[in-house]
């Protein structure tokens, strides 16, 4: 079972910026224990571009598709046998990243 694990940051109350070493160590462990599928941090939402090609021609627009105080700062994909395992890891991840974490199953 794969889960998308989103790291959520808050523009008005951001998590601490010194988490990189802790996150690296946590990633090492995820890999060693077989949970790690993918991980990546994201650049600022200001760097996003939205493309809408549902109409006659593609429209590009600057910025994220939704402006909000809370935003996606990074993601993981984990392979875990069930939600309890994923939630346990996510509980640790929240401490490691000093940010909120959302766990959502893939179909």
């Amino acid at each position: 079972m794969q889960y998308l694990v989103s790291v959520i940051d808050d523009k008005s109350n951001p998590g601490s910026t010194d988490r990189r070493p802790a996150i690296s160590a946590f990633n090492e462990r995820l890999i060693a224990e077989g949970y790690w599928v993918f991980a990546g941090g994201l650049a600022d939402t200001d760097t996003a571009t939205v493309i809408d090609n549902r109409g006659e021609q593609a429209v590009f627009s600057d910025g994220p598709f939704v402006e909000s105080k809370e935003y996606l700062a990074g993601i993981w994909v984990w392979e875990a046998p069930d939600l309890d395992v994923a939630l346990k890891l996510a509980t640790e991840a929240s401490k490691v990243c000093d940010r909120k974490i959302e766990v959502r199953p893939f179909l």
């Binding site: 046998p81 069930d82 939600l83 309890d84 939630l87």
Partner: protein, 409 residues
């Protein structure tokens, strides 16, 4: 009720959760288990009057339900092969658990912390308690369709997010048991002080179900002190149920209740459990909040008359509880004991300090109203009663508060 009807009712009480739990384990799908169990009971209603009650009703129901489930899976497999995969049994690797019972798995799944509290309550009442959707909808005053949706959504999340069907590991068990007890306590309280203008003031179906499920947990986890504490608390509260509402539907406060009408059997059982926990506490096991609340109720139910109440004991227990849980609601209840020991003036000062945190909590205003009344401050008391009546949602309580207000001189 005929013998057969009685046998069916009894089987429903005793076997529903077991049938749902066994089928969930076997087929890995709550939906299939629930539907097949319902069909098996419907078949029993049809067949038992003619064929007689089978010698082992539980086994009969499980077999019948299993056949129904297999029929459904076959039907759906024919219709949609992709579906098959979704309905495959997933056997999560399971270390030999501390407790091995399908019903426990079912309860822990229904009370999973990843589900919203109201979904946990509804799901537990349906899957473990066997209440029907209309019954649950009525209990929580929501439309049947909304309740149906709530349960469907919860089942879908369990399946999609793969909430495991498993008793939590020993390390997680205490926190998860606490979560289950919170669901059962909420169920009991909603029954004991039902809200809504058209609702019976006490919903015996809910209190009885909460007690039944807590008994079940107790049977499965006999060494858990808080489980024993919650069961004792429920029994000692339930024992006063009939004395608590008058014939005219008005709440009867503890000091005015006919103590002869209390249920002596329930009290004896509750006291037994409290003594068991006191012995454990004496041996050094620190009691949790349910055990302390049960002990407070044991003090009240030990007094033959309100004047015999050992208030200093009650106060000591509230002090202990406040250390564990410094909530303003506990401080409010503590103040009621203070009023008995040190007088209403001291108690009122303590209550007034809680205003900013309990301004919308009707017992805060009801307690103040009573203390002000005892101090002869009628005008202020009346205003407090008005506010309490405005906020109270229980019909019996509103009637009681209204009478007390109108008796003010």
């Amino acid at each position: 009720m005929s013998d057969v009807e009685e046998a069916i009712t009894q089987a429903h009480h005793e076997e529903w959760a077991r049938v749902v739990a066994t089928l969930t384990r076997r087929f890995g799908d709550l939906d299939i288990a629930e539907e097949a169990a319902a069909e098996a009971f419907a078949t029993a209603v049809e067949r038992w009057p003619a064929d007689g009650v089978p010698p082992n009703p539980g086994a009969w129901l499980t077999t019948t339900a299993t056949r129904r489930a297999i029929d459904r899976i076959r039907r759906e497999n024919k219709r949609d092969d992709k579906h098959k995969e979704a309905q495959m049994v997933y056997d999560s690797p399971e270390p030999p658990g501390d407790i091995d019972d399908d019903r426990l798995r079912l309860i822990f799944t229904c009370c999973h912390p990843a589900l919203a509290m109201e979904a946990r309550l509804a799901l537990t009442l349906r899957m473990v308690g066997g209440l029907t959707m209309p019954e649950i909808a009525r209990a929580f005053l929501v439309a049947e369709s909304a309740m149906g949706q709530r349960i469907t959504r919860a089942k879908a999340k369990i399946k999609a997010a793969r909430i495991p069907y498993r008793v939590p590991s020993a390390e997680d068990l205490p926190a998860r048991v606490t979560g289950v007890l919170a669901v059962l306590f909420l169920m009991f309280n909603e029954g004991y002080l039902a809200t809504g203008p058209d609702t019976d003031p006490v919903r015996h179906d809910l209190t009885a179900e909460a007690i039944r499920l807590t008994r079940l947990i107790r049977a499965l986890l006999p060494d858990d002190g808080e489980v024993a504490g919650l069961l004792a608390l429920m029994l000692l509260t339930e024992a006063r149920r009939t004395a608590r509402v008058s014939a005219s539907g008005e709440l009867v406060a503890l000091d005015e209740q006919d103590r002869g009408a209390w249920d002596a059997t329930l009290i004896a059982e509750g006291h037994r459990l409290v003594r068991e926990r006191l012995a454990a506490a004496a041996a050094g096991v620190a009691p949790g909040r349910y055990q302390i609340l049960a002990a407070i109720n044991a003090v009240h139910t030990s007094a033959r008359d309100i004047r015999d109440t050992d208030w200093s004991q009650v106060l000591a227990l509230y002090d202990q509880l406040a250390r564990l849980d410094p909530s303003p609601i506990i401080a409010l209840n503590r103040a009621i004991a203070v009023a008995e020991l040190d007088g209403p003036e001291v108690a009122l000062a303590a209550v007034d300090r809680l205003e900013h945190r309990l301004a919308d909590y009707h017992p805060y205003h009801a307690t103040r109203a009573d203390l002000l009344r005892r101090l002869g401050r009628s005008q202020q008391s009346r205003a407090a009663y008005d506010r309490a009546i405005e906020l109270a949602g229980n019909t019996a309580e509103t009637a009681y508060l209204t009478r007390r207000r109108d008796q003010l001189r």
